[in-house]
Symmetry: C2
Subunit: 141 residues, 2 copies
DNA sequence: TGCATATATGTAGATATGTTCAGATGTGCA
DNA sequence: TGCACATCTGAACATATCTACATATATGCA
């Protein structure tokens, strides 16, 4: 199979093998703006401390900042910083009660996302998929 | 409600409101090692270019490096770097055909994860949930 | 009003990450 | 074998991110 030269959006020559597939994929591909949003969301989940905070909320349902800090064993100020980012992105929501502020996961998408990901790492079958023989994959633990 | 002082694992005094809930959550909380793995996975998804690569593979099924580069419009060497990270984490898998190497999403977990996340950002109802009135949430677009 | 508490915010230095260029590897073909 | 091609790898620079400390805001209560 020989590669052919095609002119990309930016005017640069680009070598492609299957121009038709590239073209059709490009048309269906998520937009740059949407990809940026997706990446932003994933990146927020991509920090150990934020991850632990989120899984703590997944287990507890609702926690105030100081209990959250005690649960994940980190300084309250760090928890607060983390929560701000998560709040801004609508991943968690908050409710004030007196001088405490209680945080919870904002919606079911997030809960599913956290669950699904944990399952992925544990090598379980995907949600909604029929049970099937577990893949042999290099275990981590 | 008055906060009480509790001694954490590290020996530091920590203020908590609901000691019982903190304790029970701590016991059910994912381990540090697992949180680290989860965060590592999310972080890999948290880069615009890698995100676009993954969604391109989601649409196309399978693409060689140069077609992938043409699809997402980035230099082949950057795509290659990105793919290495994704490959190491078992997010994508590869197959050699002559001097080309074709990449695909490694498993259904990843596909579900990508789909679910896209749905989340589009404010749809979560997978598997009954249709219900859309939440009023601040739109992005 | 004044003080203690619970949380939020600003900022700076250390660290991690992404991009790019140069060059290495591996495959097919004459 | 030697060359062209497709992809990979290493390293350096610019940029983004996290952490920690100091300080600010907001609430409850005396």
């Amino acid at each position: 199979m020989q590669t052919e030269s095609v002119v990309g959006l930016d005017g640069c020559a680009v070598r492609v093998v299957d121009a038709a597939r590239v073209d059709s994929t490009r048309r269906r591909l998520v937009s740059r703006a949407e990809s940026a949003d997706l990446a932003r969301l994933f990146r927020l989940l991509g920090d150990v401390n934020r991850t632990r905070i989120l899984y703590a909320l997944l287990e507890a349902g609702e926690l105030c900042v100081c209990d959250l800090a005690a649960t994940v064993d980190m300084p309250e100020t760090s928890v607060s910083h983390a929560l701000r980012l998560l709040r801004t992105a609508n991943i968690v929501s908050s409710r004030r009660d007196g001088r405490m502020i209680f945080y919870r996961l904002d919606d079911d998408h997030i809960r599913l996302l956290l669950d699904l990901t944990r399952q992925h790492l544990r090598h379980d079958a995907p949600v909604g998929a029929k049970a099937r023989p577990a893949r042999t994959r290099r275990a981590r633990d």
